[in-house]
Each structure stands twice: as structure tokens, then as C-alpha cells.
């Protein structure tokens, strides 16, 4: 990765050259608050007055004010992702300790929706203020439901300072530990892949290389990234929406969003994982938008799991005769049974059992713990067994002797 290393555009001031006691205080304090980190103020240290004024303003908006720090910290990470400032996106304020790694990862998705309505409103505002002109009426209407005018001013000032600060950090090419960023402006981060690339010579371009080329406008390179996972993208969409036309539309939309936001992809997960995450969010958005009344709440995702499981029967389904697999009605029954699963179970089941993803990948995609994946998977599998087993062993009909046999109560 030596090709990516370059000298910082603005060097950091050495500790021995920091003579202003208040600036010293600001730099030392950053070791604890971490957001922004010391490297930030060491770089600004070339102009101590600006550095100190910035620190005051930042502290007032970030850690002070009326809006919860947690919400502002999440918005800060999201803005850093949108601007493509890997340096800022990797920092987390210790005061916002309840922000999970999953939430941080989800911030990188162009269409992620936070489950909490108040946080969601602030994040929508951060998005429009950073990417558009910030005048979206619908966003303001949503914002006013949860925030006073004074809080909106606080949010706007904080977001603008964050966006400007992110651009400064990106242009200075600084790193938290005082080194030089290995990520030049406009390029993408490929953390975790470097050793693989360095040790294995290869003829095919790596995922990181394809991403780099795609970021430079190479559409063929982008399609090379998408092609191996297009089935997964479609399957994910159709399993959520239960409609092939809607699924294709959502799959296309998700892929185009990935293309538009590729520079914000941080490479900590596989590209396919990121694309499936975007697809799931896009499909959930469509459910909310088009057919909210027909489906279970998508927000139900965040609720706790149901109580204890009790089987509906003990239908004996020891073996699957090969001809049974081919029977159209068996496949239809399976399809209907999957479609009738609650969304939170269906998503996990399709990722793990249909698409054969690892438990940890499913957890990462859905932004939930591995424990939750396992619990939901258990529920999904048992519900499907309940739905299918009695049909397969011929004990659906009440008149048949098998009916009573498998229902001893």
C-alpha cells in the first residue's frame, strides 16, 4: 500500500513547540474527549487563536447544548461518512458510549433509517444539510415534531461545523495517532485487506482495486463488483417484498445508490455485505412508503423476541422423498410459509438458510447481535417446520388418523 502513502498537506505541530498553555490544555483535553482527537488540534496548533476558538465553539455545540450528545455524535459520524472523511468517521466520543458498532457501520449506508424517530429526524436534517441545500420542507416538518427552534439552530450550527471540519481534516491528511493518512483525498479506505493484497499475487483485480476503479468512473469495474452478488441482492429484495416487480425495482435502486455512494464505502465489510445492507434498507423503505398498512411494522425489528416456543404438533417428517422436493405444491407451500413469516424472522432466515451467509455476516447486515440472529433463526425454522411438516406427512386433514397421532393433546 505504499502507493497510497503521502506527506500531510499540513504537518502537525510538535509537542515541544506548543508554548500556549491554553492550547496545551485543548490538546491534552482531546486525549480524553477524542472527538476531535489530538492530531486535529496539533494541526490547528499552527494558529493557536483559531484552534482555541474552534475548541470553544466545538465544545459548546458537541458536548453542550440541549440536543442529546448521542444524537449529535451519530450525526457527526454520518456526516463524516457522507463527506468521505475516514479519519473523522473512525472517531467516537466516549460520552456517546451507547452508540454501537452496528450503528456506526449503518451510518455508512446511503439509505439507512435509524429506528428512533427523534434521532431519525436529526439524521435526515444532517443528510440534507450536507448533501443538498438543506431546504427540504418535508425534513423540516419532521424536525419540528421533535425539536424547538433553538434546538434546530443548535443542530444546524453543529452540522455545518462538522461538515466543514471534516473537509478540513480530509484536506490536511491527518491520522489520529499523529501519522499520515494512507488514504488520499478521493480514494477509498481498504482497511483489513492490505495484508491479503500484499501477500498473494493475483491476476484478477481485487475487490479494492475494482472499487478504486469504479470510484474513478469505471462502470464495468462497478458491474464486476455487483455481478457476483446480484442474485443475493434480488433474493433479499424479493423475500422482503414478496413481489418480483417491486424486488427488481428495489434491487436496481440499491445498486445505483451503492454506485452513487461508493466513495463512502469504508471497506471494513465485504462489498457484498454492504450492498445487501443497502438493499434491505431500500426494501424496508418501500414497505413503509407503499404498503405500510398491509405489512407488519418494520420498526418491530428492534423489539425483543417473542416468548417460549411450543410446537403446534409433532408431525413426523423424518425424510424428504426426492419426488416430494420436486412436487410443485411442496415448493409453493414452502414459498408461502416463508412469505408469511414476520419480517424480522424472514430476513434472518433468507440471509442464513437461503443465501448461506455466516451468522456474523447476517448480524452485520441487519445491525443486530449474533445472539439475536440465532434466536430469530430458531423461530423462523420452527415456524416453517410447523407450517410444513403436517402437510408433508399427510396429517393436515382432521379426518385422517395421523391428525390425532401428531397432536397428543
Amino acid at each position: 500500500m505504499t502507493a497510497l502513502t503521502h506527506a500531510p498537506n499540513v504537518p502537525q505541530v510538535a509537542d515541544t513547540d506548543v508554548n500556549d498553555p491554553k492550547l496545551r490544555q485543548v490538546i491534552d483535553g482531546a486525549a480524553i474527549t477524542k472527538s476531535p482527537p489530538q492530531a486535529w488540534y496539533r494541526t490547528m496548533g499552527h494558529n493557536p487563536e483559531v484552534a482555541k476558538a474552534f475548541a470553544n465553539y466545538w465544545d459548546l455545540l458537541h458536548r453542550g447544548g440541549a440536543v442529546p450528545h448521542q444524537i449529535k455524535e451519530l450525526a457527526r459520524i454520518q456526516i463524516a461518512q457522507m463527506i468521505g472523511c475516514d479519519f473523522c468517521a473512525r472517531q467516537t466520543s466516549p460520552l456517546a458510549a451507547t452508540i454501537t458498532e452496528e450503528e456506526k457501520a449503518c451510518c455508512a449506508l446511503p439509505n439507512w433509517e435509524h429506528p428512533d424517530a427523534k434521532t431519525r429526524a436529526a439524521l435526515h436534517y444532517a443528510r440534507t444539510l450536507t448533501l443538498d441545500d438543506g431546504r427540504d420542507t418535508a425534513v423540516y416538518e419532521e424536525l419540528k415534531e421533535y425539536y424547538s427552534n433553538a434546538e434546530i439552530i443548535e443542530l444546524a450550527a453543529f452540522f455545518c461545523l462538522t461538515a466543514g471540519g471534516n473537509r478540513m481534516a480530509k484536506s490536511w491528511s491527518i491520522e489520529p495517532h499523529g501519522g499520515v493518512s494512507a488514504i488520499p483525498a478521493g480514494a477509498i479506505s481498504i482497511h483489513g485487506r492490505e495484508s491479503m493484497g500484499a501477500s498473494k499475487p493475483h491476476l484478477e483485480p481485487t475487490e479494492a482495486e475494482l472499487i478504486q476503479r469504479a470510484c474513478q468512473g469505471d462502470k464495468e469495474a462497478f458491474y464486476s463488483l455487483v455481478r457476483p452478488c446480484e442474485r443475493a441482492v434480488y433474493t433479499t429484495a424479493v423475500s422482503i417484498l414478496n413481489n418480483p416487480e417491486d424486488a427488481e425495482e428495489v434491487a436496481q435502486e440499491a445498486v445505483l445508490k451503492a454506485l452513487a455512494h461508493l466513495a463512502g464505502f469504508r471497506g471494513e465489510a465485504k462489498f457484498s455485505t454492504w450492498l445487501i445492507q443497502i438493499t434491505i434498507n431500500e426494501a424496508r423503505l418501500k414497505l413503509r412508503k407503499d404498503r405500510r398498512h398491509l405489512y407488519e411494522s418494520v420498526d418491530e425489528q428492534r423489539t425483543s423476541e417473542d416468548g417460549e416456543y411450543f410446537p403446534k404438533d409433532f408431525a413426523d417428517w423424518r425424510e424428504i422423498p426426492s419426488e416430494a422436493l420436486q412436487r410443485k405444491e411442496v415448493r409453493e407451500a414452502l414459498k408461502c410459509a416463508i412469505a408469511s413469516l414476520p419480517l424480522k424472522y424472514r430476513e434472518v432466515f433468507v440471509l442464513r438458510d437461503v443465501q448461506q451467509l455466516k451468522i456474523e455476516e447476517a448480524a452485520q447486515i441487519l445491525g443486530i447481535t449474533e445472539g439475536s440472529v440465532k434466536t430469530r433463526l430458531l423461530r423462523a425454522r420452527l415456524r416453517l417446520r410447523d407450517a410444513l411438516a403436517p402437510g408433508i406427512d399427510g396429517s393436515w386433514s382432521m379426518g385422517k388418523p395421523e391428525y390425532q397421532k401428531v397432536r397428543p393433546w
Binding site: K219, F222, Y223, V226, R227, E230, R231, Y234, T235, V238, S239, P244, E248, A251, Q252, V255, L256, L259, A260, E308, Y309, F310, P311, F314, A315, D316, W317, R318, E319, I320, L325, V330, R331, L334, K335, I338, F349, D353, V354, Q355, Q356, I359, K374, L377, L378, R381, L382, L384, R385, L388, A389, V406, P408
Partner: protein, 78 residues
């Protein structure tokens, strides 16, 4: 070695992890001992395992004809 008994309820709780080979050796031994004597839990196990087997071929979700080409065109035209 004496195997400590396990209830049906506990077996159902762990059945999915059992299929995944995600239980420790001690729990696996207890579950296997239970399956030997409990036809009902064996039926649940077989049925659950069959559900997983059935869906792995992905035929429930066939890709629409021309999907790839239309997706490629969308990317190219963007």
C-alpha cells in the same frame, strides 16, 4: 459418563444451534440422549432440518428473465 437429562423445552430452545453444530459437546450429548427416547423432539428435529435442506437450492426465488441485462443497462446509463 453420566448424561444429565434435558427437558423438551430446552431441546426446542437449542434445536437450531444443534443443527448448526453450534452447541458444546456436553449439551450435544444431552440432546442426543434425549432424541433417543423422545419421538416428539426427534420429529421436530427432523422437520426443522428438512426445512433448512429444502431452501438451500434457492429455487423459491428465481431471478426474472433479463434481470442481469436490465441491471447492467441501468448502471451504464447512470
Amino acid at each position: 459418563m453420566k448424561v444429565i437429562e434435558i427437558s423438551c423445552l430446552e431441546v426446542w430452545r437449542e434445536i437450531s444451534n444443534y443443527i448448526e453444530d453450534g452447541v458444546d459437546a456436553e449439551l450435544r450429548a444431552r440432546m442426543e440422549a434425549h432424541f433417543k427416547v423422545c419421538a416428539h423432539c426427534t420429529a421436530i428435529l427432523d422437520g426443522t432440518r428438512n426445512v433448512v435442506k429444502l431452501v438451500t437450492d434457492g429455487v423459491e426465488y428465481p431471478m426474472p428473465d433479463g434481470f442481469s441485462q436490465r441491471l447492467y443497462n441501468k448502471i451504464k446509463d447512470k
